[in-house]
Structure formats: C-alpha cells, structure tokens
C-alpha cells in the first residue's frame, strides 16, 4: 500500500466520488485555481471544471444556504468552509435550516451535504482562525460530526459522509494535513459512529480526538517505558458517538482521561465524561474521570502561549498518572 498525506486523502476521496457521481460538487472560497487556503482542492478545478469546483464569493451564510438548497433539490454538495471559525457566519443555514429540515417537514426532504472545514490551533493564526468549535454543532440534533485523525480515517470517513443523506460537519485538523499513513487507492467507507482503538492497553483509557490522538499515542509510548499500559480510543465521529467501545474500554481499565483541543469549558469531553459516569462503567471507575482541553482564553498568537493553550503530550502523561495516583 502507498502512503499519502491526510490532505491528499481528503482530496482523493472527493475526486473518486466526483468521478462516479455527477451530483457531487464542491463549493467554497478560493477553491478554484488557488486550490483552497490549505491546498486541499488543488488540481480539482482542472479535472472537474468550474461548474463542479465552484469558486464562491466570501459569503459564508450565502454559500452555506446555497449548499442546503441544492442538497434539498437533488445535488450532493461539499461545502469547504475556509476556516472552521467562519461557521459562526454560516450557522443559521447549518443549525436552523440544514439540521432541522427533515424533522421539521415531517420526515420529507433530505439534505445530503458535507461541510468540510479546517480547525485547530498551532499555525500562529491567532484567535479568529484557530478555534475548535465542534462542541457547538454536536449540540444540535440533526447534524453528524466527524473528526478524523489520520489519512486513512479521513478518506474512509469522508466517503461515508458523502454517502450520507444528511448533513455532516467534517472537521479536518490543520496540523494533520501533512501527516501520512497507508491509504488504499480505491474508495472505501468507514462507518460513522464507530470508534477506533488506536492502541490497546490495560491501565488507563485515553479518549482523544483529532490531533490529540497523536499526542495521546506519544504519551502512551512514554508511559509504556514506565510500565503503564494505555489504551487510546479515537471516537472518529462525535455524532453519532460509539459509546459502547468507550464504555467497554473503561470497564477494562477503570481509569479514563478525555482529551481534546477545544476549550475544556463546555467542550465535548464533558459529554463523553458524563456518558461514562451514567453508564455501567461507573462502577468500574477506580479514579475520577480526568478531562483535558484548551485553556479558557482565546487562542493567543505567541507560539509559546499558543502551545500552552492546548493540551500537550506532557499534560496527557501527567493526567494519566494522576488517575493512577502516580504523581
């Protein structure tokens, strides 16, 4: 198998689908000859033309609505929101329209659309271009929410998102775009709602999302040297959430750390922690559930401060040890 980057995997998933299905098209800002702010759509306008790789004005509310309206009438749009922070401007169409149409119309009408959007800090882009706002959309019944952490997962989950007849918010982490993994050349689908055990272990469960999966794996490798066995679970999709895999792991280990880059307060980690506390795994807990998340501040510009804002490998090691009373 060949190795490609996360960015290439996203592009490949879209291209394979667009070759196969004429109803699939992509729209977004600077996705044409520019190739998208991060280069994800580079080369696509050359292959598919400007009708299907539709460069738009800077109008997030307008293009989100155009995506919803086109989905409702038979197309399968992929909306590239240039930075996930800009969902703030598109939220009416995503939250009040796309998410509710099926239910509000009594089960009639469907909105098969994917909103692909880069999120996360670490690029020095500061407060308005670095947020992780996924918890907002997880709160809305009617939206599926996906956060792939590897190139392999990105390609398979995006295929599943494009095949879905409902709106899916697909978060791509900017720092993962250049990471690589083995990825099959053909199209394949990874089911939404199925977590992936990225590493098996017996002492502590770490539930980590997006880039935190990689930091958790690094932490696990470090802790292994001290004889601590870590299980790393990547939910892959926040909605639907694979509760069973997480509960099963916590029953086994009795200790759990939940880690995401989004601000801890009101973050999705709270949902995961509560879900564990309400489940049969509660009786197996040998230590309080630990949550790690971003600091309660906007994402700062200075690289040292920016780094301090998000959980790092050392924080994860520390948290795992705390659950073992080994600090």
């Amino acid at each position: 198998m060949r190795e490609i980057t996360y960015l290439e995997a996203v592009r490949e998933a879209m291209s394979l689908e667009m070759r196969k299905n004429k109803d699939v098209f992509i729209l977004g800002e600077d996705i044409g000859v520019y190739g998208g702010a991060f280069g994800v759509t580079r080369g696509m306008i050359e292959e598919f033309g400007p009708e299907r790789v539709r460069n738009t004005p800077i109008s997030e509310a307008g293009i989100a609505g155009a995506a919803v309206g086109s989905a409702l009438t038979g197309m399968r749009p992929i909306l590239e929101l240039q930075f996930s922070d800009f969902i703030t401007i598109a939220l009416d169409q995503i939250v009040n329209q796309a998410a509710k149409i099926r239910y509000m119309y009594g089960g009639k009408g469907k909105v098969p659309m994917v909103v692909r959007t880069p999120s996360g800090s670490g690029t020095g882009a500061a407060a308005q271009h670095s947020q992780s706002l996924e918890a907002w959309v997880t709160h809305i019944p009617g939206l599926k929410v996906v956060q792939p952490s590897t190139a392999y997962d990105a390609k398979g989950l995006l295929k599943a998102a494009m095949d879905d007849d409902n709106p899916v918010i697909f978060y791509e982490h900017k720092l993962l775009y250049k990471t690589s993994s083995d990825v099959p050349e053909e199209a394949y689908s990874l089911p939404l709602g199925k977590a992936d055990v990225k590493r098996e272990g017996s002492d502590v469960t770490i539930v980590a999302t997006a880039i935190m999966v990689h930091r958790a794996l690094e932490a696990a490798a470090e802790l292994e040297k001290e004889g601590i066995s870590i299980e790393v679970i990547d939910p892959c999709t926040l909605v639907p959430l694979d509760e069973e895999t997480i509960i099963k792991s916590v029953v086994k280990t009795g200790r759990v750390v939940v880690v995401h880059e989004a601000v801890k307060r009101g973050g999705y980690g709270g949902e995961i922690a509560s879900m564990i506390a309400e489940s049969e795994a509660f009786d197996y807990l040998d230590a309080p559930i630990k949550r790690l998340g971003g600091a309660p501040s906007p994402v700062p510009y200075h690289p040292d401060l920016e780094k301090a804002h998000a959980p790092q490998v050392s924080n994860i090691i520390q948290a795992a040890k705390e659950t073992l009373n080994k600090v």
């Binding site: 509310a61 086109s70 009438t73 038979g74 169409q93 329209q97 149409i101 009594g106 089960g107 009617g142």
Partner: protein, 331 residues
C-alpha cells in the same frame, strides 16, 4: 380572450380564462384560511403563534399562477398564502396547525414550517431571510442539472436588511441563476416601518447593486403581479439570471397574534383596506366579462366551504403519539 391591462401590456397568454377565474377563488381560500386561523388562535383552539397574510393575497396567487408544478418556491413565516397558491391543500395545512399527524409536517412543523417538497414548496421559514439562500441553492441545482424549473423566493421588506439577502442575491446574480426574488413589502418588519428601517423609497432599487433588474409592482393588483412575474420567469428560463420584484402591499392584521399595532394608525389601515386585492380583482374579472356577481359569490362561498371542510378534517384527524417525538431523527 386575453385580458387587457393596458393597451401595451397583455396578460400572460399561458393563463387561461378558467385559471383566471380559479385565482379569484384561490384568493378567497387564502383569506378565509388565515381568518379562520385568526379566529382559532383567539379562541385558544390552536396554540403557538401565527403570522397572517390577510390583504396580501394578490402576490401569492399572482406569482404562483405563473409557475408549473416543477417550479419551486421558498416561503416565509407569513407563508400560508404561498403554500395554498403553490398547490397545498387547506385540509393538510389546517391539520398541521392543529398539530395532527395528517398535517404537512405530521404536526411537528406548525404554522412557520409548512413544506411540500414534492410539490415544489421547499418550505416556509421561521428565520427572516433564511429561505433566500435556500432558493438560490435550488436554482443552482436547476442550472447544474440543466433542468428548466425556476425558483421563486418570497420574503418581506424586513428580510432585505439581513446579510443573507445580500449574499444570496449576489450569488444568484454572478451565477445567472433562474430565481425570482419576490419581496412582499407589507410596510412593516414586525413593528419596524420601512420608512424607519430602509433609506430608499423602493426596495427594488437595491437590485441595481447586484446588477439585476428591480421592478416595483402594486402588490394588491394581481394582474400587475402576473405581468411582472411573467417577465421575470421568462428572463430566468432564458438563463439571463434573477430579477427582484417588489410587491408593495399591506398586512391587515398585526405581525403575530400578540400585536397591539401601536406602531401604526387605524386611518392607515383603513386606507389600505380600501385597496383590497380581492375586491379589485373581482371588478377586473367582471369588467372583462369573465364572470358575473353571481359566479363570484358562488366561488367565495365555495372557498369558505373548503375551509370549513378543512377544519372538520383536522378535528377528526389523529394526534401524534409520544412515540413520534423521535421519529425522523437521524443524528
């Protein structure tokens, strides 16, 4: 025969005399529907809220008269008339307001969310200007799939102050999309008068900023509405892009059920009631020899009866069960 508006302008030839007469009944159907809803809200027989379009029947009926079944509309919170004009039946609409499973949305949408996607009604909308980008998306589908349908986007004067209006109209313009923006300027966005909230005399002039035609029409004159709509539809079907139509009209009732109407005078209301679009259309049809006073009366009573039947249908329809709470939920 063709109905003459002026020497120069004939009524769209595709409309038959039979259909012209049918529109008269439809306008009464819209009025009686909303008046019945008003009555039921006052009596506490239906709950929630509602927005009535009494006095605005000409724009709904006139615009939709020019549409084929494949054509689409998006509507607003004040959308009962648009739904009826696009082919919705009063029984399933009333049942929706009664919260019954036989309603268009199985009793889960209510007054502000009536939709019938299969009939080209992409939905009323509780968000001011929320439907404008949706309409543009529908028009984008027509263009990308090379389908010949047009999309009519209804909204009010207040919606033109929303960012979504600007973004969506610009998109439709740069992509030459087959969409007709119909602004029903009923003079007030809730309590905000257009004189207070908009600094141009005609909302239609805003079209200039997007490089598309903007047309002012008497929103209480169904013939004029049909003529301007016909032009806009032809332009859209030719692939020449969108048009903004401003239909100047007036809502006789308050914004919603709780409105004491302190922001306008009773004299103003009286002036507008004198411009009753149904009465005016009746005279046009009589003058043109398309029907008599007697036929007009029969049609009015038939509309009234249809609403009474719709009420009966609704009252006899089943309520949802609590198990329905989570049906049609996928995430």
């Amino acid at each position: 025969m063709k109905l003459k508006l002026t020497e120069e302008k004939l009524l769209a030839p595709k409309i038959s005399n039979e259909k012209l007469v049918g529109l008269y009944k439809q306008m009464w159907l819209i009025r009686y529907f909303d008046e019945k809803v008003d009555e039921f809200f006052a009596k506490g027989m239906i709950h929630g809220t509602t927005h009535l379009a009494v006095g605005q029947e000409a724009s709904a009926s006139g615009v939709c008269a020019l549409l084929d079944i494949d054509d689409k509309i998006t509507s607003t919170h004040r959308g009962h008339g648009h739904c009826i004009a696009k082919g919705a039946t009063a029984d399933k609409m009333m049942a929706e307001l009664f919260g019954r499973t036989t309603g268009y949305c199985k009793g889960k949408g209510g007054s502000m969310h009536i939709a019938d996607v299969d009939m080209g009604n992409l939905g009323a909308n509780g968000i001011v200007a929320g439907g404008i980008p949706l309409a543009v998306g529908s028009a984008l589908t027509a263009k990308m799939k090379n389908l010949n349908y047009v999309t009519v986007c209804f909204f009010g004067d207040g919606a033109t102050n929303e960012g979504s209006f600007h973004e969506a109209v610009n998109l439709a313009s740069i992509w030459d999309l087959p969409v007709i923006f119909v602004c029903e300027n009923n003079q007030y966005g809730m309590s905000g008068s257009v004189k207070e909230m908009i600094n141009v005399d005609d909302i239609a002039t805003r079209a200039k900023a997007y490089g598309i035609p903007g047309v002012v029409a008497d929103g209480n004159d169904i013939i004029e509405i049909m003529n301007v709509t016909d032009d806009a539809i032809k332009r859209a079907r030719r692939g020449d892009g969108p048009t903004l139509i401003e239909a100047k009209t007036y809502r006789w009732k308050g914004h919603s059920k709780s409105d004491a109407k302190k922001y306008r005078t009773r004299e103003e209301e009286k002036e507008w009631r004198a411009k009753d679009p149904i009465k005016r259309y009746k005279q046009v049809l009589i003058d043109a020899g398309l029907f008599t006073e007697e036929t007009a009366e029969e049609l009015r009573l038939a509309a009234k009866k249809e609403i009474e039947d719709a009420v009966k249908f609704s009252e006899e329809s089943p309520m949802p069960t609590l198990d329905d709470l989570l049906t049609d939920v996928y995430a």
